[in-house]
Chain length 213, copies 2
């Protein structure tokens, strides 16, 4: 496989992940072509070269296709994640077993009062000062932030200093990607539950089909 084809496949794979998130089940070559900035003919040629064929009625099953491309891109072994802030949300995530289906494992928690954290959870909990050491030992590069609003920005900076490359932030502060010490850009996703609810209320009041404002 040449380099350009690999780039296209990563783009297809990324588009598929997004399409899954919004609940689609089937995708057509021209959808992926748009996402990758190539023609539908190239998408079909790439897939046929990889031995991937569409359904009789046209289109590809998204989950199947994502799995096939995922294998090509070397997705496989479970990925390790840490949780910063062992309050109710953090603990709920640490207890949740469904991440295993996504190939994700929470390997450690961090809290200012690790001695107060429920030990039954089966995941070790340390003080935040140990983040760098633990992440180095366990080769972890992704963290979930579930600290209170007031601690979010400091936690973020500390995580970047500890060589964390990816962050899923549940605090209501919107964290922005900024270059780390080594010049690389972290990947930051913000999940703001209050904001999601506000948007839902807004969309109910002003349905998209009939904008009132």
């Amino acid at each position: 496989m040449n380099n350009e084809m690999l780039i296209r496949i990563t783009r297809y794979y990324r588009a598929l992940t997004k399409l899954r998130t919004i609940g689609l089940e089937k995708v057509f070559a021209h959808n992926l072509a748009d996402a990758a900035g190539v023609s539908a003919a190239i998408v079909r040629k790439d897939f046929s070269q990889l031995g991937i064929y569409g359904q009789k009625r046209g289109g590809y099953d998204i989950v199947e296709l994502a799995n096939s491309l995922g294998k090509i891109l070397g997705k496989g072994a479970p990925e390790s994640v840490i949780v910063i802030g062992c309050g109710r949300i953090g603990m709920a995530l640490m207890h949740y077993t469904g991440f295993e289906n996504d190939g994700i494992k929470i390997v450690a928690g961090f809290d200012n009062n690790p001695q107060l954290v429920d030990k039954s959870i089966g995941v070790p909990v340390y003080t935040p000062s140990k983040i760098g050491e633990v992440c180095k030992d366990l080769d972890v590069h992704v963290a979930i932030i579930t600290v209170p609003e007031s601690a979010a920005q400091d936690t973020y900076q500390h995580l970047l200093d500890c060589n964390i490359k990816g962050i899923l932030n549940f605090s209501p502060v919107t964290l922005k990607a900024m270059p780390t010490k080594d010049g690389s850009m972290p990947v930051v996703h913000n999940i703001n539950i209050g904001l999601e609810l506000e948007q839902i209320f807004y969309e109910i009041k002003f349905p998209k089909e009939q904008p009132t404002a």
Copy 2:
């Protein structure tokens, strides 16, 4: 107004609320840009599209601007929400006090075993068979789903039957908007934490700017 603009406006609005609480009177486009994670040019473009203009010497009056945006967002009395599924995630949301800042109040929880749910929470918990009655009494139209994967689809259908118009779904099942009895379309937002983490890992492996071979 498209969805991305709406997200930005809710972020501007939230930033303004915070700035008001710390006593500021005037705000500049770049302040709001920082808060919303966009450029100042986009803030100015959004406002000009909404017919909102700054002061002669630059900047916007915070109270005036918050009122204008608040009207667009349909703000006023706090909005009521119910939580279906009082497991760890559901209980974490019911304990969380930060939603009040967003004008959102969780008024009831529902669980198959309401007698097992922690009573200290201050929010009444009922069996799911009471959803219709409680929502009618309290005039609730938005629900958060935090039930296990296996119960998500049935819960969703039940909520639509109970005249719920907006749903924030935390179960890993992607729920799709489908017409309700009265023909209207519900607003459904899915938050799939596992998928978010997968995407973060993927984006770290294949950065957007420098696709790796």
